[in-house]
Assembly symmetry: C2
Homo-oligomer: 220 residues x 2
DNA sequence: GCAAACAGAATTGTTGACAATCCTTGCGCC
DNA sequence: GGCGCAAGGATTGTCAACAATTCTGTTTGC
């Protein structure tokens, strides 16, 4: 019990609670999500839980089958690769747009992140590097100002957190991705959309190549 | 009354009815979707309608605000362009994958569509060409075998049908896009992923350029 | 004449109970 | 001993009624 905040005020935010529980790993892939159980765990009505599950199903985080209830959707390795392939091209688009639209302030922010990344790798701070990685990609998306692309990426990332997480912990991963990240920042700072897109795609292609070696936390 | 099939068996398929009504233009952008009204129009319970609206909101087709109900979401011209930009890169990915994976049968199908397109343009059959256009893109997606990309494209296309439709009716549009479509098919038949992606991107870039001239059916 | 407060209608949000469906368990039969 | 089968429990789907909120039109006071 009490693994996650229990009481919840209203109802509309049950989605966030369930989503976080899935992301944090409290609900593992293929685990059944019984409406009655969730409603007592989160202190919400069953209808609220039901609505949340419908919404999460549309987000691709849970699977719902008629009269059989909902379970946490397991994304196979093959699907994780497909997701990353789509991410590759969409983030490539964002990188190109970012190169076109970045203000001087944006460039300063990106350069700061790049510098911090260098430091983190030098210090061997894997967790800090992972966080900076997240922030770099988020900043590129924000600078690009493409809300549609951002929405697509959010959805895809949500389904993939598990694989992404494993990847970051792979020893030696940081030293491989660091130069790729630096090249992305450099290309954007040079305001060269083509180069920025190519750099982002090269980086994610490298991620895709590495994915199989982290195995399937949520096998077939 | 009786604008749309009224009686419906159960409830789960209310989403399809509402979705189609939006696509067919029966529900125009920004139109309010009152739960009670829909429930009598479709002969379903209010709870079923409510569930459908939650789902459609997650799909991005309707907008829901607390205590204020749902309305058909209006996609601005700017957003339509963003959607098409994302489509551009994702369909580009699909074209590349299709070039890699197409079987001889697939190529025959694509060539047949290309031939029919030529005929349709020659005959001045705008509607037939529009349908072939739809089928070409669908076939490329299917051949690519990328279910994740297909899902993303479905979602985006669903939000954009209105603009797409207007575009197809633009006089002289077909003669512009025909050579682009032929090049896409040729590139895939040559099993050249890079060329296929470039061709698809060029085609959609042309679509994006043309979008502003069809104006905003659902203004600001 | 205009702004603010007020009642009434319209609409959504929520709850609880009931019906339908599916899975499990135990029994009888071959 | 294995297999079909019915009863029971568990879980989801559905519904109708109630509570809460927002919107609309009117009235009142200045």
């Amino acid at each position: 019990m009490s693994t996650v905040a229990e009481s919840v005020g209203g109802a509309g935010d049950v989605v966030d609670l369930v989503r976080r529980a899935i992301h944090e790993g409290e609900f593992v892939p293929n685990q059944r999500l019984v409406e009655a159980d969730l409603s007592v765990q989160f202190g919400a009505s069953r209808a609220a839980v039901r609505t949340a599950l419908v919404q999460l199903a549309a987000e691709g985080l849970v699977e719902r089958v008629q009269n059989r209830g909902a379970r946490v959707r397991a994304v196979s390795l093959a699907e994780a690769i497909e997701i990353s392939e789509v991410r590759m091209v969409v983030e490539g688009l964002c990188a190109a747009k970012a190169a076109e639209r970045a203000t001087d302030d944006d460039l300063a922010t990106l350069r700061a992140i790049a510098a911090d990344m260098r430091d983190a790798v030098e210090r061997g701070d894997v967790f800090g590097y992972s966080e900076l990685n997240r922030r770099l990609h988020a900043t590129v998306r924000a600078v690009a100002g493409q809300s549609v692309a951002a929405g697509v990426l959010d959805r895809l990332r949500g389904q993939n957190v598990r694989h992404q997480f494993r990847l970051a912990l792979l020893p030696g991963r940081a030293s491989v991705s660091l130069p790729q990240h630096l090249e992305i920042v450099e290309a954007i700072c040079a305001r060269d959309p083509g180069r920025a897109e190519a750099a982002m795609r090269a980086h994610l292609a490298s991620v895709i190549e590495t994915l199989p070696s982290v195995g399937g936390p949520s096998g077939a």
